[in-house]
Structures are given as structure tokens and as C-alpha cells.
């Protein structure tokens, strides 16, 4: 069974369309989305509409919750006052932009998705099984991940939220982060070299093997950046899209 799993599109329809083209070539059996369809990007409704149209099973992200329930806070861990100021603008803009019908859709997304493929218990979440907005970074303590896998009776946990993809083997189990489709981030603070491409995961479960691939997909990031500038969203979001290499 081949699964395509993606998350953190953040209103970037150009990136999502290219990811779907790549998924189309990858011959997958099922597609899942781990949330954060909206926020920061200029096409929140287009992204939601496409996900709805394709009937993709989707987990709720913290930003989806913020917009769906019309909250002032997206549950994002902003570190500076400037980040907070830009974040406030983003959620305000997105809440105004997203249609009532799409907000209803966001409010009714699942908390998690549990799959059993071959003999593998797979748990799909946005942040972590514990919390919608918990960050499970690539250097998260091994013991904590092991405990989490045991506690939630999962062989594989797939999460998003951090925007940084990784594959970690925890004994004979795994924790995987599928990266981000629409908003790339540097791996370390101050690092200005990071990939601009959209990322997603291909998870292939065989009878006695688990194969994982992080796909990296080119898209017209300039188009998205231009749209951000014209939309009234902070220009800094366009620079993040343009950033990296």
C-alpha cells in the first residue's frame, strides 16, 4: 500500500497543485492531509476547495482551528513581538477571507486518523498525538517519542506542523514528519539556506517492510510571492516564500 501524506499548505495553491501532479506520477493508493490548509498564504479558499473537491481525508491543524472557530489566536508559538504582530495580521486576514462554508469544513476536520495497513498501526496527526500544536522537531528526545508511540499504540506516527521533514527510527517503530507543502522554513535559527520546494511524504507499507520517501517538488514560488504582495498580507510572508535556495 502506497500512501501520499502532506500538510501545512498554508494557502499556497501553486505549491499544492504541483504536489498533486507529482503524487499523480507516484502511483499511490491513498492520499491524506495533516492539516493547516490556511494561514500566511493568499489562496485559503482555493486550497480548501481543492481538498474538498478531491475528498481528501484531512486532520485539523492549529491554524484550521483558529480560522474555523474564528479565534484570535492560531496556536502558533511566535517567539518575538514582530512575529506576533505579523501572525495577528495573518489570522485576521484569513478569517475575513475564508467563506462560511469553508469555515464549517475546517471546524469539522478530524483530530487524528488511525490506519491499519498490513500489521502496522499508523497514527496521523498535525502536531503530536497529545496536542494539535505541539512541535515534534527532528531532535525531539528519543525516549519521549518512544513513550508516545507506546502510549498511543502506534507503530508509525506521521506528523507535520514543524515544516521540517524527517524520518526517525525509534526501535522497530517510526516517527515521520512530512514537511510542508506551502511554507518552507530554515532548519536552524539564522540559517538562510533552505530549500524552497514543496515537500510531502510517500509511505509504502509492504508485508514486512516500511519504505519512506520525502519528495521535494518545484513550483512557481514567485507567483505565490507576488499574490501575497497584492493580497494585503504582510510582505514579509512573500520574502519567506522567496527565501532559501
Amino acid at each position: 500500500m502506497r500512501l501520499a501524506i502532506f500538510s501545512d499548505i498554508h494557502g499556497n495553491i501553486e505549491a499544492l497543485k504541483e504536489v498533486f501532479k507529482d503524487i499523480g506520477r507516484e502511483n499511490v493508493d491513498e492520499i491524506y492531509c495533516l492539516g493547516d490548509l490556511v494561514g500566511y498564504g493568499p489562496h485559503p479558499n482555493q486550497v480548501i476547495n481543492l481538498i474538498r473537491e478531491l475528498n481528501i481525508e484531512t486532520v485539523m491543524g492549529n491554524y484550521d482551528r483558529g480560522v474555523g472557530f474564528d479565534l484570535d489566536d492560531c496556536g502558533c508559538a511566535y517567539k518575538t513581538e514582530e512575529e506576533k504582530r505579523l501572525g495577528d495580521k495573518s489570522i485576521k486576514w484569513t478569517r475575513q477571507e475564508v467563506t462560511e462554508s469553508n469555515k464549517y469544513f475546517l471546524r469539522n476536520l478530524k483530530e487524528n486518523i488511525r490506519l491499519r495497513v498490513e500489521r502496522q498501526e499508523i497514527l496521523l496527526v498535525h502536531g503530536s498525538p497529545r496536542k494539535i500544536n505541539q512541535y515534534l522537531f527532528f531532535n525531539h528526545p528519543y525516549s519521549s517519542l518512544k513513550k508516545m508511540l507506546d502510549q498511543y499504540e502506534a507503530d508509525i506516527i506521521v506528523c507535520g506542523h514543524t515544516h521540517i521533514p524527517y524520518i526517525r527510527q525509534i526501535g522497530n517503530k517510526m516517527v515521520i514528519n512530512d514537511g510542508s507543502v506551502g511554507k518552507q522554513k530554515p532548519h536552524n535559527k539564522g540559517q538562510n539556506i533552505y530549500s524552497r520546494e514543496a515537500k510531502y511524504l510517500i509511505l509504502e507499507i509492504g508485508k514486512d517492510s516500511v519504505n519512506t520517501s520525502i519528495r521535494s517538488v518545484r513550483y512557481d514560488f514567485e507567483k505565490t510571492a507576488e499574490k501575497i504582495k497584492k493580497s494585503g498580507l504582510p510582505d514579509q510572508f512573500a520574502e519567506i516564500i522567496r527565501g532559501g535556495i
Binding site: 521533514p165 519504505n211 519512506t212 520525502i214 519528495r215 521535494s216
Partner: protein, 245 residues
């Protein structure tokens, strides 16, 4: 100038299909005849860019060791690519696959860690050198080569322009056959496709991984880039209406 000539020095493989799909009398008094016309044009261009997919993979019982070895070898490949001018690269895929290998009648779990990068160049004469250098610097596979055009939109527009001229010629011929005075194009639908012929150059893994000597530079003949455009046209024919005093 030479590059410019390359664009225009296309090998004309023109493939035209014209079909009359419908003739209707919209208005008997005015004698308007509506003709629906399908037209297809295809042109081959000499390629101007090439994208080579280079893979490094390693197999190890220890995942960390496999990961480290793959990363080190890929760094070596990237270092080798940096010695070429006009070569850009980006990661396309990172994967960890579980492989069972029989050892002493026991199935032992190995990890195959693979990274694929796309190296793009607009100097097609150095394709063979790039491959040779990558392979002699620890690349395990060449996963394929894609050819493209530097200014594909411009080439597409050229083909569309020629196609429209051909449609006008055909419309004139039909006008004479129908013994009509005038025609007008009432609707024009254009579906353009940009078809890149892929050329796959697969190397032998076992041979490469054991071979410490530099391999001969492979001979590579770039494949043409085909652009084809389908037109659906609705043409209305009528006679000049005599003016009544």
C-alpha cells in the same frame, strides 16, 4: 546568436488534422454557415537544457551509518558538480527503505538510504562529463535525463502563431468551396502541450559501487523537445448582404 538560431532552426514535423464536424444553417435568410474545425500542429525543437537525476544510495544494517554514508557521498557528488559552470542542483527525493537480505538462512533487516538530486545545465556538450564526474565521485545511479527549452513559453507562442496562420489558410479554402464572401472566427479554443522526451541512462549499481576507476564518458544524443497544439475553431461564413435603398 547561435542559441537564437537554435530556437528558430526547428525541425518542422508538422502534423495537421482538419475535420469538419458540423455544418448547420443558423439562419436561412442570412445564409450563415457554421463550420467547426479541429486543427493540430506539432513542432520539434532542439533541446537547450537538460536535467539529470543523480542518486546516491547505501545499504547498511545500521540506519545511522547508512544515513551518514549517503550524506557524505552526496556531498562528494555536489562538490564535483560545483566544478562545472552553469550547473544548478536541488534535492528531489530522500528516502529510507527497509530491505531484507538473506544471510546464513536468516532474513536480516537492512536500511537503504537514498538521496536523489536534480542537476540542471544549459550546456548540453558537458552532459557526458557531468555524468562521468558524478559517477566517479560516488553517485550510484543516473535515474534519467529530461530535456527542455530555456524559453518554453516563447516557443509555445511561436507554434500557436503558426497554427493560427494555418487555420486562416484553411478558412480561406473553405470559403471558396462554399462560395461565400466572408468569414469570421467566432470561437477559438487552444490546448497546448509541452512534451519532453525523456532519455533514461541507467547505470549498473554493483559495477559502480565496486569500481574505483573512472568510467568512460557516455555518448549522449539529446532528444528533441516536442510542442503540440490542438485548436478547436468555430467559423461563421456568410454572403455580403445587398444594401436596399
Amino acid at each position: 546568436m547561435k542559441n537564437r538560431r537554435k530556437i528558430f532552426n526547428v525541425m518542422f514535423v508538422v502534423f495537421i488534422l482538419i475535420t469538419f464536424t458540423q455544418i448547420t444553417y443558423a439562419n436561412q435568410d442570412e445564409q450563415i454557415i457554421v463550420v467547426n474545425l479541429s486543427h493540430r500542429i506539432e513542432r520539434s525543437f532542439r533541446p537547450e537544457t537538460a536535467t539529470i537525476n543523480l542518486e546516491v544510495w547505501t545499504l547498511n544494517k545500521d540506519l545511522k551509518e547508512a544515513y551518514t554514508e549517503t550524506t557524505n557521498r552526496m556531498n562528494q557528488v555536489i562538490k564535483a558538480l560545483k566544478s562545472f559552470e552553469n550547473v544548478t542542483y536541488k534535492t528531489q527525493n530522500f528516502s529510507i527503505n527497509q530491505r531484507y537480505i538473506e544471510e546464513d538462512k536468516k532474513r536480516v533487516l537492512y536500511y537503504e538510504v537514498s538521496t536523489i538530486i536534480e542537476a540542471e545545465t544549459d550546456n548540453l556538450t558537458q552532459l557526458g562529463n557531468i555524468i562521468e564526474r558524478a559517477v566517479s565521485n560516488q553517485a550510484t545511479d543516473i535515474k534519467g535525463i529530461k530535456y527542455g527549452l530555456k524559453y518554453s513559453e516563447k516557443a509555445k507562442n511561436q507554434v500557436i502563431k503558426v497554427g493560427i496562420e494555418e487555420i486562416k489558410d484553411k478558412a480561406e479554402i473553405i470559403k471558396e468551396s462554399l462560395k461565400k464572401d466572408n468569414y469570421k472566427i467566432a470561437r477559438l479554443d487552444i490546448n497546448d502541450s509541452y512534451n519532453i522526451y525523456n532519455y533514461s541512462f541507467e547505470t549498473t549499481r554493483s559495477k559502480l559501487s565496486n569500481d574505483t576507476q573512472s568510467l568512460p564518458i557516455p555518448e549522449i544524443s539529446p532528444k528533441d523537445v516536442n510542442i503540440y497544439v490542438n485548436f478547436n475553431v468555430k467559423i461563421e461564413y456568410n454572403n455580403q448582404i445587398e444594401k436596399k435603398d
